[in-house]
């Protein structure tokens, strides 16, 4: 278990400076999946990497107050819920399963709504991958809860 924070001012400063930029890049990768390489899986992994870096340099005690494993589990489940609902809600509104054209967002239509549906699904995938990878790290480190 990594209990204490890392005893080096250089490591702490660099890590605390790096983490916001990693998270910003992760958001860019998720949002930019329509236009370039990237998407939910890659962006979720980057988000998880930022949280894991925080756990490595802060130690588990402080890092779990900032971001607890239960929050990671909840975020993963919320991501799966977003994906599942974006499949089921169009069925309620008269389409097929995962048919984003029938999402109840009435101010966009047709192909624009499909692009928006892809974005919603990518955000769901990103949250699910993010929560899952943080959970796997926590369980491998041997955390109690």
């Amino acid at each position: 278990m990594i209990k204490q924070h890392y005893q080096s001012i250089i490591v702490q400063t660099i890590c605390s400076l790096l983490i916001p930029f990693i998270q910003l890049f992760a958001l860019y990768v998720i949002i930019h999946g329509h236009y370039g390489p990237g998407g939910g899986f890659q962006g979720g992994v980057l988000l998880a990497v930022s949280i894991i870096l925080q756990r490595l340099y802060l130690g588990n005690i402080i890092a779990h107050q900032k971001f607890s494993p239960k929050l990671a589990l909840a975020l993963g489940a919320i991501g799966m819920l977003i994906f599942g609902l974006s499949g089921i809600v169009p069925m309620i509104f008269g389409g097929a399963f995962l048919d984003y054209e029938n999402l109840p967002l009435f101010w966009v239509h047709g192909a624009e709504l499909r692009a928006l549906g892809i974005l919603i699904v990518e955000i769901g995938i990103g949250l699910a991958v993010f929560g899952t990878l943080v959970l796997i790290f926590d369980s491998l480190v041997g955390e109690r809860w």
Binding site: G33, H34, Y35, G36, P37, G39, G40, L73, G76, A77, G79, M80, F83, G84, G87, F97, L98, Y100, A111, E112, R114, A115, G117, I118, V121, E122, G124, I125, A128, V129, G131, T132, L133, L135, I136, D138, S139, L140, G142, E143, R144, W145
Partner: protein
């Protein structure tokens, strides 16, 4: 027995090599895999989804069901890790 196993493996290798003769060339535009649904994706994905990245359009829209399955697999793997490896608090 070892020689019999080796003979069976050699026959299998010969069978596989014989089967590769009938495969289409690498990156052949007339191959069956490239003439079935790929042209539809390439021509219609921007019109259907307003997404310039064909990979994203196929991943999240045309094959969304597959991606749903992948995400469920990842999430289930994480849950299994938690259930097997996480230690419970001692009372």
């Amino acid at each position: 027995m070892r020689w019999l196993n080796a003979l069976i493996m050699l026959l299998f290798v010969a069978l596989m090599l014989y089967a590769t003769v009938g495969l289409p060339d690498h990156a052949d535009p007339q191959a069956p895999a490239n003439t079935h649904v790929s042209p539809t994706y390439i021509e219609d994905s921007v019109k259907d989804t307003h997404t310039p990245n064909i990979v994203t359009a196929v991943l999240a829209d045309y094959r969304g069901y597959d991606t749903l399955g992948e995400t469920i697999v990842i999430f289930t793997a994480g849950l299994a890790c938690v259930l097997i490896l996480m230690k419970r608090k001692e009372r």
